[in-house]
């Protein structure tokens, strides 16, 4: 990260906007999806300054991206994946992947392992973030459906009593 933070924000914005267009996100949601990417990266960047390692900041940023996507998907009635992909794209370790492969091909085992480990941490971090949010949302959905079912049953019972 050679550029100062405000410039990096601009670069992230351009990159995420590019992907929103590249995947043909609906015009009305392009900016808000892009904003998700910028916010996710900013959280990752700021947390990296205060916490050690790659994994924990990446998990937290990925949890944020998933929550952002779940909330916006409900508001706009759009599939979650649309907002999630654009939000999480700045976390995808393209650089790590490239150097892992490069060092593997050049026969540089130690560097390959080092970059491979970094790439794995990012991938595992993103996966953990999705896991936490998806599981929570599913528990919530099942609970809400169950509550609605019980409520309907109670109403039927009451109607029978009155009848």
């Amino acid at each position: 990260m050679s550029l100062p933070f405000p410039l990096m924000i601009v670069v992230t914005f351009v990159a995420a906007l590019g992907f929103a267009l590249f995947f043909n996100v609906n015009r009305r949601h392009v900016l808000i999806a892009t904003l998700g990417g910028v916010l996710t990266w900013s959280i990752d960047y700021v947390l990296m300054m205060y916490l050690d390692g790659i994994f924990i900041p990446c998990v937290i940023a990925s949890v944020f991206a998933a929550i952002y996507a779940e909330v916006l998907a409900r508001v706009t009635r759009t599939p979650v994946v649309v907002f999630f992909i654009i939000a999480v794209i700045p976390l995808i370790p393209g650089r790590g992947l490239y150097y892992t492969m490069y060092n593997a091909v050049s026969g540089n085992g130690a560097a390959c392992l080092e970059f491979g480990e970094m790439t794995m941490f990012y991938a595992a971090g993103i996966a953990t973030g999705i896991c936490v949010v998806t599981a929570t949302v599913q528990i919530w959905n099942i609970w809400a459906a169950d509550k609605a079912r019980r409520l309907a049953k109670m109403m039927r019972k009451q109607a029978r009593h009155r009848g």
Binding site: F22, V80, I85, R95, Y98, T134
Partner: protein, 246 residues
């Protein structure tokens, strides 16, 4: 009627939806159209639906999905809205067919593909530590990749071959440019282009699927996307290797 539902499911999958979303929407739609019970199994290669109609009549239909498709979130959103609409107020079969054809007939906006590709590749080249020059070169090569996606992708047998050939050609192009422009960091320009071809959507969906309990689809998609990523890496590495001879 139920075959139209499979068409919708197929179009959703090829536009970049995860398996869980497709299963959920198909089950809801079937019930809206009068099915007593819906049994939907979606994996990335096939959709199988068993509909139980009133009077214990059961009907099973399936659809093989051979095309991996290309991510098109606008189409996915339109299809999802169509499903929601049908669940609230089931459309007649003909109307549903007409609406589905209209959504499928809407072409991918060409300028968005090229502008988006150039912006994201350029943006990521700088994002990962490249200079502005790296970004510009990466953006120009990304335009080439977008042309390949549009015209070369439909005639390749599968994504593995496409990724390898495109990565090889893009890598060679970058090396040729680097030969004339000495300030260019080849690594950064390549990373920008890699981000464009990396199977991010497939990998994320695979993870989501595995965690939602759709293990078969998740694992299948995951292995597929690993193969795609490997062929991509091999393509670029071959280009760099060829470039060492000159």
């Amino acid at each position: 009627m139920f075959s139209y539902m499979l068409d919708i499911g197929e179009a959703m999958l090829t536009s970049g939806a995860d398996v869980h979303t497709v299963e959920y929407q198909l089950a809801r739609m079937g019930k809206a159209y009068g099915a007593y019970k819906m049994n939907v199994l979606v994996i990335t290669a096939v959709i199988i639906v068993t509909v139980t109609l009133p009077g214990d009549v059961e009907k099973t239909i399936s659809r093989r999905i051979a095309d991996e498709g290309s991510t098109n979130f606008d189409r996915l959103e339109a299809l999802s809205k169509l499903c929601d609409e049908c669940c609230d107020n089931p459309l007649p079969a003909l109307e549903l067919r007409r609406r589905l054809d209209r959504i499928k007939g809407k072409p991918f906006p060409k300028p968005f593909l090229y502008i988006g590709g150039a912006l994201s590749a350029g943006g990521f080249a700088v994002f990962f530590g490249g200079t502005l020059l790296d970004g510009v070169v990466s953006a120009i090569i990304a335009l080439f990749v977008c042309v390949a996606l549009r015209y070369f992708r439909p005639i390749t047998p599968n994504t593995i071959v496409f990724n390898f050939v495109t990565a090889l050609a893009a890598g060679l192009l970058i090396c040729v440019v680097a030969h004339f422009v000495s300030d260019l960091f080849v690594d950064m320009a390549i990373i920008g282009v890699i981000m464009l071809l990396i199977p991010g959507v497939a990998m994320t969906n695979a993870t989501r699927d595995m965690l939602s309990g759709d293990t078969i689809s998740g694992v299948m998609r995951f292995i597929e996307s690993l193969l795609w990523a490997t062929s991509l890496a091999l393509g670029f590495m071959s280009a760099l290797w060829i470039a060492t001879f000159f």
